[in-house]
């Protein structure tokens, strides 16, 4: 439990380690798994009736310019010039430079590298299991820079409270500002509830309350990384007595005329009822994949591990369509970006790669699609040793069903003056969250005709399905 805050590993050592991992080391099992992908997939009964979407939310606004980095000489030089002290040297990117499966012509002939701390994700990309969606963000309708600068908000409405953490988190999750209480994951879940024996296990968060997994009908069920939490005293009176345990059960679950009290009782009833069912099913799951391949705590890996175990328990629980939410905090890198962002990238890399391997182990990699989301992207311009709140960002989609190893959308110029940004390199999104979500929802099984009920603004965008899955 002792948390010692010191400069643990030098940047150089970290880089060296990351470079090594890219080729061998702890990433080797992943490479092996990828090589045997075909067999594993074949072993899966075709038409196995299961689908899951997993949202990995990076709270605080991920610094996309240091996640997917211009690598060709010309654009890298532009990036260096604008980013100053928070940039990667080109040679630091050699090991994670990306080779798309099929050559792609991007804006200004850009080539990209992943952050040096994403060696495993590079393997997934080049194995065709990870797609990169470029410059996606909150939009109500497509907007050009001139329309953004203009004042015709009736024709070109903008999402509420751009650049504000809580509001843009909410927009990503629920397509509205703070206070919205139905998320698009939950709305997808509404379509799927009837498929599951336990309808409460349709929308699940391992990261605390999140509007993403709250639907019109479907509730968000919370789980902890260790499984469902049992109220111990109800089953084991300890220093109390059987009568006291019984009274506890009754007190915390009895209905009340006071709405707040009643809601607490409802949550307690759900907690108790589901705990037995869920933990019993989880106990039968054996998962070999290690989620701890890098030294240090990784809360995202812990959350994805319980998601993997729940997927492992899908037959026992009668789960056929599930939406999961996990998150990692701390991406608001106004300062000390280089060090802190690198640490978080390592966690993302470890967690997402382990989760993918776990789906391969369970033979469900084609049935599980994972995607990233975040408050917003950040400024390309630096503020000394960090970056500021932006708008559009780059995101990852991972899974066996993903048409990976390539980029989707339009690469932005590496610029703080071009028309695809709105100042300081804040990207004006060229793809909407609605399109990103529609593509995932379609794969999950939502019919085209129902898409507008989940994503009310989807009709404003041409090409609603982006093709990455």
């Amino acid at each position: 439990m002792t948390k010692i805050v010191t400069e643990s590993v030098s940047r150089r050592t970290m880089l060296e380690r990351a470079a090594k991992l890219g080729f061998m080391g702890a990433a080797a099992p992943l490479a092996v798994n990828l090589a045997s992908m075909g067999e594993a997939a074949a072993a899966t009964a075709p038409g196995g009736d299961y689908r899951a979407l997993v949202c990995v939310f990076l709270y605080g606004g991920n610094d996309h310019p240091n996640t997917l980095i211009p690598y060709d000489k010309i654009n890298h030089a532009r990036y260096m010039a604008i980013r100053g002290g928070v940039s990667f040297q080109r040679k630091d990117l050699d090991a994670t430079a990306l080779k798309p499966i099929v050559p792609q012509a991007l804006t200004d002939d850009q080539q990209y590298a992943f952050a040096p701390y994403l060696p495993r994700l590079k393997i997934l990309f080049e194995g065709g299991k990870l797609a990169t969606q470029l410059n996606v963000g909150s939009l109500i309708t497509p907007v050009t820079r001139a329309q953004f600068d203009g004042s015709n908000r009736a024709l070109y409405p903008l999402p509420p409270k751009l650049f504000s953490h809580n509001d843009q988190q909410c927009y990503w999750q629920a397509l509205g500002s703070e206070g919205s209480n139905v998320g698009w994951g939950g709305r997808i879940g509404d379509f799927a509830m009837a498929s599951n024996d336990q309808s409460l296990l349709t929308c699940i968060s391992a990261a605390g309350n999140a509007v993403f997994v709250s639907g019109d009908k479907s509730l968000q069920y919370q789980i902890s990384p260790s499984g469902a939490i049992k109220i111990e005293t109800i089953q084991d009176p300890k220093y109390g007595s059987a009568a006291i345990s019984e009274a506890l059960h009754q007190l915390i679950t009895q209905p009340s005329a006071n709405a707040m009290e009643n809601e607490l009782a409802i949550i307690a009833r759900r907690s108790i009822e589901m705990e037995g069912i869920v933990n019993k099913a989880l106990d039968k799951v054996t998962l070999q994949t290690s989620f701890d391949t890098v030294p240090g705590d990784n809360s995202l890996a812990n959350q994805l591990k319980i998601v993997a175990r729940l997927i492992g328990a899908r037959k026992e629980l009668g789960s056929r369509r599930q939406i999961f939410f996990v998150s990692l905090d701390g991406f608001d890198h106004h300062s000390n970006l280089s060090k802190k962002h690198n640490e978080l990238m390592s966690k993302v890399d470890e967690a997402i790669a382990a989760f993918y391997v776990a789906t391969v182990e369970m033979g469900v990699q084609r049935e599980v699609t994972t995607f990233t989301a975040s408050d917003f992207g950040r400024t390309l311009v630096n503020n000394g040793d960090g970056s500021d709140h932006g708008w559009g960002s780059h995101h990852f989609v991972i899974g066996g069903a993903v048409n990976g190893g390539r980029y989707y959308g339009t690469a932005p110029h590496v610029s703080a003056t071009s028309d695809d940004q709105v100042g300081q390199g804040r990207l004006l999104p060229s793809t909407s969250i609605d399109q990103y979500a529609a593509t995932l929802a379609r794969w999950f099984g939502v019919p085209d005709g129902e898409m507008a009920t989940i994503l009310p603004n989807i009709g404003n965008f041409d090409g609603r399905y982006l093709g990455f899955v």
Binding site: V211, I229, G330
Partner: protein
């Protein structure tokens, strides 16, 4: 001198339950003496007495006294956990309990968090931060705003520390973090408000934004040029590391300006222009005055203080009265926080009896409040005085840890609406429900069941007030219901609990340990019951 905000009251006018209800809002716990004092003095006079009562031990002094200033090869000067011990000691043990409660409310409006405060002396950084909140709890909001802005910990948390002016050559721009959050969270909020806290609407029927991105970018220039003030710091060479250990004065001194790093550009924000080349201290004064005098502050801040202490859904009229007290304390002073606390706690809406027909009355007590309330009321004592309570926010813990908000947006948002609830259907808010779910409800009860029986490290519960009546379950329940819940547990629940406790067969001759088993069980039942959890 100070106007009475409520009519003087007499002993007979305030019942025991009413006094307990008032105390459970104004501070954490209750004692028989405090209930008697409130009944004797009346609410307003009791508040005045608290305003004039002595301060407790300062956090930094407590850290010193417990050896947390030691410079050893263990390098504890980098460790955060004594910061947790410090704040728990303040909340659990310092005598200025009303001031502590006010500071706790402020700490959820202007937020910094021990996670992540790193580098040298995190515990002292948090102690200095807490001290600002305690100092200003009975001071003025304008002064609070300035001290918050220049606080060393806030400088780290929202990046005013080391914030540099623009540099055309490298393209570097000032950091916007503090400029944004000081508006969005610490003063005016996102939308123009009426004095009663409701949103103003524009001609298009939509809320009116208080600021846009250019206001943030401009205001950011005001906060450039500051860094920790190292002028009193001493640098000490040590054998175990190749850089010096520094002394912690920088943690409590306001940040210092380096004019060379301060932007000289003009600043235009919220309709005010600070001319180019204005000296930094004048820029700061003008900017903070502009924020402080914005008509939003009273309703924006006031409503949240009501939510922290009294109810999640105050009426607009209640908010308006608190905002009016913020605008003018009766003597022409704006921002007098004593006037705010009086207005929050003495408002007729707060003091009126809970309407049993109002299904949405009250607020969910937050976990820290529950635990501190129990500890202060039943007596959690440490022999060593060490108070070694570490972060308690985990799912196997209390579910909340003071000064460890997950972000500057606090543990929960003032406008949080729990989906799929009668609360949402009624269009009401319930901030604390943001951290209530299947996991946290179970984790809280598990945490309690251990802590209330066995304590926490060397802190042990005494139960002195109820040990003598442990053989009488109905009396125990009645005592707990009054002191922890202001008699808000129903007779049926009290009877259910008393009947269950009778199963322990405690008699006057029962050994103390067995009595403690029964008393801890009693507390577990009370503190887990929704009728307790919702403070009405």
């Amino acid at each position: 001198m100070i106007k009475q905000a409520a009519k003087p009251t007499t002993l007979t006018a305030i019942s025991e339950a009413e006094a307990a209800r008032f105390l459970l809002r104004a501070q954490f716990g209750t004692s028989e003496g405090e209930i008697a004092a409130v009944r004797a003095q009346g609410y307003a006079a009791w508040l005045e007495a608290q305003f004039n009562s002595p301060r407790g031990q300062k956090g930094a002094d407590w850290l010193d006294a417990h050896g947390h200033n030691a410079v050893t090869a263990e390098a504890r000067y980098f460790w955060p956990q004594a910061g947790d011990y410090m704040i728990w000691n303040q909340l659990l043990a310092q005598p200025d309990e009303f001031r502590q409660r006010c500071a706790f409310s402020l700490s959820q409006f202007t937020v910094i968090s021990l996670n992540p405060i790193d580098g040298y002396w995190p515990p002292y950084i948090m102690a200095a931060w807490w001290n600002v909140l305690l100092d200003e709890a009975f001071g003025n909001f304008r002064s609070l705003l300035e001290r918050v802005t220049l606080n060393a910990g806030m400088g780290m948390y929202l990046n005013t520390k080391g914030n540099l002016k623009e540099d055309a050559k490298t393209g570097r721009e000032p950091d916007e973090n503090y400029a944004r959050e000081v508006m969005q969270l610490f003063s005016i909020g996102l939308y123009e408000l009426n004095p009663d806290g409701t949103e103003k609407k524009g001609p298009d029927g939509k809320p009116i934004e208080t600021y846009v991105q250019s206001d943030v970018t401009n205001l950011a220039r005001v906060f450039t040029g500051y860094d920790h003030d190292m002028s009193r710091v001493q640098y000490k060479k040590v054998a175990w590391q190749n850089f010096p250990v520094i002394t912690p004065e920088f943690t409590s001194d306001p940040m210092k300006l380096d004019p060379g790093n301060h932007s000289k550009l003009a600043v235009t924000f919220l309709g005010t222009t600070i001319p180019a080349n204005t000296p930094a201290p004048d820029s700061l004064r003008i900017a903070l005055d502009r924020l402080f005098n914005h008509p939003n502050v009273g309703p924006f801040f006031g409503r949240q203080m009501i939510q922290r202490m009294v109810t999640s859904n105050p009426s607009p009229a209640y908010v308006k009265r608190v905002a009016a007290a913020f605008a003018d304390n009766g003597e022409g002073v704006r921002g007098d926080l004593k006037a705010v606390w009086r207005a929050v706690l003495l408002d007729p809406e707060a003091l009126a009896a809970a309407d049993p027909k109002d299904a949405l009355h009250g607020k969910l007590r937050e976990p820290v409040q529950r635990f501190v309330s129990w500890a202060r009321t039943l007596g959690l004592k440490s022999e060593s005085g060490n108070c070694e309570i570490f972060a308690t926010s985990g799912q196997e813990g209390l579910g909340q840890s003071p000064l460890r908000s997950p972000s500057v947006f606090n543990f929960f948002r003032p406008g949080y609406v729990p989906p799929h609830t009668a609360i949402a259907k009624a269009g009401k808010q319930a901030p604390e429900f943001q951290i209530a779910n299947e996991t946290s409800i179970a984790g809280y009860i598990n945490f309690l069941s251990w802590a209330i029986r066995w304590g926490y490290k060397d802190m042990k519960p005494g139960y002195e007030a109820v040990l003598p009546i442990a053989h009488d379950p109905p009396a125990v329940v009645a005592w707990l219901n009054l002191h922890l819940a202001a008699n808000q547990l129903s007779p049926a629940s009290c009877s259910l609990i008393a009947t269950a406790l009778a199963s322990k067969n405690v008699t006057p001759d029962t050994p103390r340990d067995a009595k403690l088993d029964m008393l801890a069980s009693a507390c577990l039942l009370v503190l887990s019951a929704p009728e307790y959890l919702v403070q009405k």
